[in-house]
């Protein structure tokens, strides 16, 4: 996935776009991450100032939610569902396989920055478990072959 490079001017523009709505913090953080692929640190005091909040409050929101990234993810993000329905369908063995193939533990990015492997707690595809998401594309009924194909695609 491609993102824009961070600039203060672009950041300010995105913040201004949403600053007037009720309870805007999450909406702004989402918008920043959508544009830049992560929430750049210099944006935090800018959000605080725009919403008349303290920096600590905005930083607190930013760190509370699993979605928001401190730094860019790898070129591809492979999310594997690790919740109960996928556990019941053999998801844990597939997660271990993915970790072994990529040589990283879940929650990390490969050294070449190509693939970020992340756990996700439920994609809501529990009747076609186990499931995965590669860069926003959903894959159900995951098995070894499908997983290997996803990993190969991400590494290519």
């Amino acid at each position: 996935m491609t993102y824009e490079p961070w600039t203060e001017a672009r950041g300010a523009e995105i913040i201004a776009e949403h600053a007037a709505i009720e309870g805007a913090t999450l909406v702004i953080l989402h918008a920043l991450q959508e544009a830049f692929g992560y929430v750049p640190e210099p944006a935090i005091p800018m959000v605080a100032s725009a919403l008349n909040l303290s920096r600590a409050e905005v930083y607190g929101v930013f760190t509370f939610y699993h979605d928001f990234r401190k730094e860019p993810a790898g070129k591809h993000v492979l999310k594997l569902c690790r919740a109960e329905a996928c556990q019941a369908a053999g998801g844990e063995a597939l997660a271990a396989r993915a970790e072994a193939k990529l040589g990283i533990a879940c929650g990390n990015t490969t050294a070449d920055r190509r693939v970020t492997l992340e756990p996700i707690y439920c994609l809501g595809l529990c009747a076609t478990a186990p499931s995965a998401m590669l860069d926003g594309r959903l894959v159900g009924r995951l098995d070894r072959d499908r997983l290997d194909a996803l990993i190969a695609e991400a590494q290519a």
């Binding site: 309870g23 909406v27 607190g60 109960e84 329905a85 019941a88 369908a89 595809l125 159900g140 009924r141």
Partner: protein, 516 residues
């Protein structure tokens, strides 16, 4: 006349190739110089048959599935010819798994085009709102109360009473909030319905707004559901264009509009007060109650916060009458429940039925046992905070009180099936560990207890003073149950204690297990 073919756009169907099937059908048709009309519907919820493709015929819709892109050409030939094909399932409405359900809330899911307001209206949409407008607010609240509808998020609180509290509270502004933060593993009913029949939710929320005098609504959807977010935003825009949202709802003097807000991966935000905090732009920290959200909710104003399935039940109740809805069910659990069969199950999907069906019927009969073919050993009902049930309790009827009597809960209606390879000590440990990751941190029993719980289970499995540590886990669970602020810490003991009670053999120290 061109062929009219229905292919789901439901995320669960897309995950197993529905987009590829739609594309392949278009290609195959183009290759034959044939005009076809592909309608992207929601899913009917028979996920082992997805992608399930349907063809409109003079005798109703005929289903085929599970279809792959490679089947497109032969399927199209069959559709043009005799209709016979190895994947033919027969008339869609006659598929036994579908026919034995009682679809009140999900009646149109998988049937209509979720992007078309006209299709929604043609299938009885907005009749509930029309009746609500003629009844007036007080009578609408009375109707919802009489239906016996209880909150479908899991707590089972009577919806009508909640609405009456908000209606009776004077304020300059009131809010309607829909909880679509469906984080429980094994549940997907919210996702499926928003993707398959989003106008139903909009209508339900609009009726609530009329009943309590609110003019603004929010739907909080989890970020893991991008397809649902897109479907709902499209439907809201269509409802605005048609005057069903905006300054004069359905031509009346009421103003109401809805905005979608997206979560950010915090499980605890499914708890209603945490969700309100998150909507206000803060960390999803649970609020102490009282005050109830009905008195001081979003931005301190009286707020109806209901589960998505509760709102979705409302249009039927208003259109068909409270009694029609209440005639279904058992005891104090009235109406129908969209039950979700998931995990290691042969026939997984959405099964809407009246309360009272037993767990065993659902798992063995409807679900067909495991897809691995191995014996069912345990089922977890009600998400990560629900109890594990052994086969010995499969006679439990699906009912709020019956499950509570057996130290369980029905939650949001998800059932996750495990075969005999499951390690219940590992599942109990996961319950604690998940709670530790997702705890908002406000109350000590949840914040500290979850971490200590996982550590203590590790000690048991390592054979360290097993009897003492087992007693400690039980004691810890009681503290969490009684001392936590919300259901995250308060209900994490359900999976742990049920695993200990029903599957004690899995908690033997690992050295002993290995020796056996």
């Amino acid at each position: 006349m061109s062929l009219r073919i229905f292919v789901p756009r439901d995320a669960g169907a897309i995950a197993v190739g529905a987009d590829e099937v739609a594309h392949a059908l278009e290609q195959a048709a183009a290759g034959r110089g044939l005009a076809i009309d592909i309608v992207r519907t929601g899913s009917r919820g028979l996920y082992w048959l997805e992608p399930m493709v349907e063809l409109a015929t003079a005798d109703g819709r005929v289903a085929f599935g599970p279809v792959t892109a490679a089947d497109a050409a032969s399927l199209l030939d069959a559709m043009l010819g005799s209709g016979n094909h190895p994947l033919r399932l027969g008339p869609a409405d006659e598929i036994p798994w579908l026919k034995r359900q009682t679809r009140l809330t999900f009646a149109n899911c998988g049937v209509i085009d979720p992007r078309s307001l006209d299709d929604y209206r043609a299938h009885g949409g907005y009749r509930g709102l029309e009746r609500a407008l003629t009844l007036g607010p007080a009578a609408v609240v009375a109707e919802v109360t009489a239906s016996g509808l209880r909150g479908r998020g899991g707590a089972g609180f009577p919806t009508g009473i909640k609405w009456k509290t908000v209606a009776d509270t004077a304020a300059d502004r009131k809010y309607i909030v829909c909880n679509a933060d469906e984080g429980d593993s094994g549940t997907f009913a919210d996702r499926m319905l928003i993707e398959g029949d989003p106008f139903l939710l909009i209508e339900g929320m609009t009726i609530a707004a009329l009943a309590v005098g609110a003019d603004k609504g929010y739907v909080y959807i989890r970020s893991e559901y991008p397809h649902a977010v897109a479907a709902l935003n499209a439907a809201i825009a269509a409802a605005r264009r048609a005057g069903y949202l905006g300054a004069r709802v359905g031509g009346s003097s009421h103003a109401f509009d809805i905005e979608v807000r997206v979560g950010a991966g915090a499980y605890v935000c499914g708890e209603e007060t945490s969700l309100l905090e998150s909507l206000e732009g803060r960390r999803g920290i649970v609020r102490a109650k009282p005050p109830l959200p009905a008195h001081k909710g979003l931005f301190g104003k009286p707020t109806v916060i209901n589960n998505m399935l509760s709102f979705a039940a409302i249009p039927f109740i208003l259109a068909e009458g409270a009694k029609t809805y209440a005639d279904f069910g058992m005891g104090r659990s009235r109406g129908t429940m969209p039950i979700q069969l998931a995990g290691n199950i042969r026939h997984g999907g959405l099964f809407e039925t009246a309360f009272g069906i037993t767990l065993g019927e659902l798992v063995d009969d409807v679900g067909g046992g495991t897809f691995t073919g191995r014996p069912v050993r345990a089922v977890q009902v009600g998400g990560p905070l629900g109890a594990y049930f052994p086969r010995a309790l499969f006679d439990t009827p699906f009912d709020y009180e019956a499950f509570a009597a057996r130290d369980g809960l029905i939650g949001h209606g998800g059932i996750v099936v495990f075969d005999d390879t499951v390690d219940m000590a590992r599942q109990a440990r996961f319950a604690f560990a998940f709670c530790a990751i997702e705890s908002c941190g406000k109350c000590t029993p949840c914040r500290i207890g979850s971490t200590r719980g996982a550590e203590t289970i590790d000690k048991i499995l390592n054979g360290e003073r097993v009897a003492n540590h087992l007693a400690l886990v039980e004691d810890l669970c009681n503290t969490m149950k009684l001392g936590s602020l919300c259901a995250l810490g308060g209900f994490t003991p359900y999976p742990v204690l049920s695993a200990l009670k029903h599957f004690p053999e899995d908690f033997k120290p690992q050295q002993l297990q290995a020796a056996e």
